[in-house]
């Protein structure tokens, strides 16, 4: 029988293979031990147990690439809300127009990262260019942009709308845009 086909646990492998087997055993033992420690948080007890704080030696990602797979592990209760921000424009008649990524010719991420979030943070210079983008794509002229948040509330029937929260307002005049630019 070819020595490579050794299967009997009683017949030892040839000496040339011992080193490789020892290496393999070391890798197996180390990997399984570290993944068990990291995965079951044996050295990272919850912060809610302050009496075990001294044992909190290896929270994620200390042992990386050995990790606890603890993403999305907290629970939600009925009634919890999450922020759902948007940009709304008001035209001369006072009518409301929600500016979506598609309506201003942007991808969702571009819109969120380069326009929505800065406007929520008070970036005045972003208001006029965004309103112009919207108008150029068939929208009417806007007199004001404002950030709004209608939180989504998790309920048994699905999702309910929370109370509208009005954020920063940006009256649109030529000077407001140029000042920021």
């Amino acid at each position: 029988m070819d020595h490579a086909l050794h299967i009997s646990p009683d017949a030892p492998p040839p000496p040339s293979r011992w080193r490789q087997r020892r290496l393999a055993l070391a890798v197996i033992g180390l990997f399984l031990a570290l993944q068990t420690i990291a995965g079951l948080k044996l050295l990272a007890p919850s912060k809610r147990l302050p009496q075990l704080a001294p044992l909190r030696l290896a929270p994620n990602p200390t042992l990386w690439p050995f990790l606890a797979y603890d993403m999305y592990s907290d629970h939600w209760k009925e009634g919890r809300a999450i922020s759902r921000p948007s940009v709304v424009g008001l035209d001369a008649t006072g009518a409301r127009h929600t500016l979506t990524p598609e309506s201003v010719g942007l991808s969702f991420r571009e819109f969120r990262d380069q326009w929505l979030n800065p406007l929520r943070g008070g970036a005045t210079a972003k208001a006029l260019p965004l309103a112009r983008r919207w108008s150029e794509r068939g929208g009417v002229a806007l007199m004001e942009l404002r950030c709004e948040d209608v939180p989504a509330i998790v309920v048994r029937d699905g999702v309910a709308d929370g109370e509208r929260i009005i954020g920063p307002r940006y009256p649109l005049t030529e000077s407001s845009g140029e000042a920021g630019q």
Binding site: D2, A4, L5, H6, I7, P9, D10, P13, R17, Q20, R21, L23, A24, L25, V27, I28, F31, L32, Q35, T36, A38, G39, L40, K41, S46, N60, P61, T62, L63, W64, P65, F66, L67, A68, Y69, D70, M71, Y72, S73, D74, H75, W76, K77, E78, R80, I82, S83, R84, P101, F108, R109, R112, A152, V154, V155, R156, D157, G158, V159
Partner: protein, 324 residues
Amino acid sequence: MSRLSQFVERRFFAAAPVRDLAILRLLVVGTLLFVMLFPYALFTFPVWGRLDLLAALPDSQWEPVPIVRLLLLPFCDGFRPPLAAMEWVLRASICAGAFALAGLFTRTTLLLFALGNLLISGYGYSYHEHHHIEALTVLALLALAAAPSGDALALDAWLARRRGSPPAAASELARWPLELMQWLFALCYLSAAVCKLGASGWQWLNGYTLQGYLLQEGVFWGTSSSVWLARHHGLCVVLSWGALLVELLFPLVLWQRRLALLFVPAAAAIHLGIWVTMRAPFWLYLPLYAVFVPWSRLFNAAPEIARAQSGFRRTGPRLQEGGE
């Protein structure tokens, strides 16, 4: 011999075809090479594509994970490699990966490929943010580097045959990386279940939890599918139970191999669902599931099945004739 060593011997060092190991090498290295060369094809924030952004962060945010600190210790403790150095590591890793894929100097190039990715991914996670997507792949590469992964489907094997010393078709060292990855998969899924139950108890299954995460990610990524799903509380309860049961019971595949037919597609479906609704890209797990597939047995069975089918085609009409 103790029971433990008999168990280890039987599970990890029983003779196995080297071709199974080589198939894992081709799948894992090939997929990782692809995402290193085209980082944004499958990922939104791939570490391989944003080294420049990470390097631009202030030194105050640099807190190397211990393995990165260890790898960089020869330079000095806490050393933060400059962008140019990390880009060279990336290029060198891609070269090593190409050699490992072809199976040339397989062990050395696999080790270099593994260490390069350990450093690159670890570097990405040394700025107070970490993810889980590459961890198992890096561990698989390290295990493959310590095994005869180039004894089949590799230039090394071809060159050895030309020299008149072909590698054996089976080896007692060809099984342990596959077995080890199965155990690591089981531990990871168990970790996911234990973390959920530990942090939330059975309340994690209340349906609102999944609704909430779906909404949160749906609003963040702009995915309509997750917002749609979040509106269906009952469905979220059922999916929560399904996900937790798969994670909790996945380790059963270690004792009852046939359960892999149930749990591996179920786990893959969970990851696919998470990608569609929450944009969490666990694509690198897909080639790793190859450790649950008995490739050689499938390849060996294929001709027998074909023979049986052709035999049926030959004998079928005769039987009918006989019946008439």
